[in-house]
Symmetry: C2
Subunit: 214 residues, 2 copies
């Protein structure tokens, strides 16, 4: 990994570059210039140049630009993949269940090994061969199962309590899907995915769009 | 709605204020100052002041700050809720199925009425009383069912094709969960939720954190 300061905004753009580059690589493209990449993604050329300087020391070739396969490799190296971290689902509602069934995260090194809930109708059963435990057993099982990451899919009202439990149990990272601001100690990293915020933004965009059209 | 220019960053913070204010309102708080709010959410006081000026013309009271219940009302009015828009799920995998089962979005005016897929094992069946149709019927059913929003939970490889189909069929907004950059005409609004990007950010945060600790 190249050490350099990187903003959260930049960090959010890297997977977008990656997705786009993989897409055009599949379509048979071999080289891309910063200006073409900028145009395709609706960014300024300057921004793209700066972003790519963070992830790659390679220079593009005049007239052809950068080799796509190498740029993909550099982006993947920079972003890194989780190092086969074990994860648990906290809150086995619809979203939690979807994650227990989904295989896709294991490609990024995230192995979901179990779920936790308080509901008697769920505790003691398996979903996709992954056991659902009662939340009371969290503290013991986090260390027994060597869990480093918790995916929070519980209701907002209990999310902070879960963060406190998970911190005490020793998880290192929390991927939070509960629509609430959470406090954690410095030992724990939190990444938020706020679906209701995203829906509010879609709603706002639609409304302003609609106003413009009228 | 108060007309004012608002940045995407601001827009993303409003639901966070809302979540936090509702939480402390439940805990019995009645007033909050910009500085307390800033401290609680890890923002600068200046940023909080500016944000709240966008959504509310009311002034806080000296020493007490703003009335929480009124601030909640202003934020909700500003963000708006979808006006009972009908939505469809495009791609009934695990995430699509979770959304068909989830009731929570209807509180924000998003009524999920049907799913679309190509898989014979899904087409013709119901999930949570919502029918799954073959994607071939998209064009007819979007107008018949009065659909304005599509939730894209299909694989990345077919997402752009789906956007083209949906645009032709006349949807106004697309909530995209496929990890890919999509092109759409100016008539269609897209809001992206990129889970693999979010996971990459969590992974990056964990790695840099881990390096600091060593």
């Amino acid at each position: 990994m190249i050490s350099s300061s990187v903003s959260k905004r930049q960090l959010e753009r890297f997977p977008i570059y990656l997705g786009y580059l993989k897409q055009i690589a599949r379509q048979g493209e071999h080289y891309i210039s910063s200006s073409t990449l900028a145009k395709a993604l609706g960014l300024t050329e300057e921004k793209v140049r700066k972003d790519l300087q963070v992830v790659s020391r390679r220079q593009g070739k005049p007239h052809r630009g950068r080799e796509i396969s190498l740029l993909i490799k550099d982006l993947e190296n920079f972003l890194g993949y989780l190092d086969a971290e074990n994860a648990i689902i906290v809150g086995v509602g619809h979203l939690g269940e979807a994650f227990l069934n989904y295989q896709g995260f294991s490609k990024r090194g995230l192995n979901i090994v179990a779920g936790f809930d308080v509901d008697d109708k769920k505790v003691g059963y398996d979903i996709n061969d992954k056991p659902i435990y009662h939340i009371d057993r969290l503290n013991d099982l986090v260390s027994q199962l060597n869990i480093s990451i918790a995916i929070l899919t519980c209701p907002a009202q209990v999310a902070q309590k879960m963060v406190d439990l998970l911190t005490r149990a020793g998880v290192k990272g929390i991927w939070n899907f509960a629509p609430i601001h959470l406090h954690a100690s410095d030992d724990v990293v939190i990444e938020n995915v706020d679906l209701s915020a995203s829906l509010a933004i879609l709603s706002y965009k639609l409304e302003t769009k609609f106003k413009e059209v009228k």
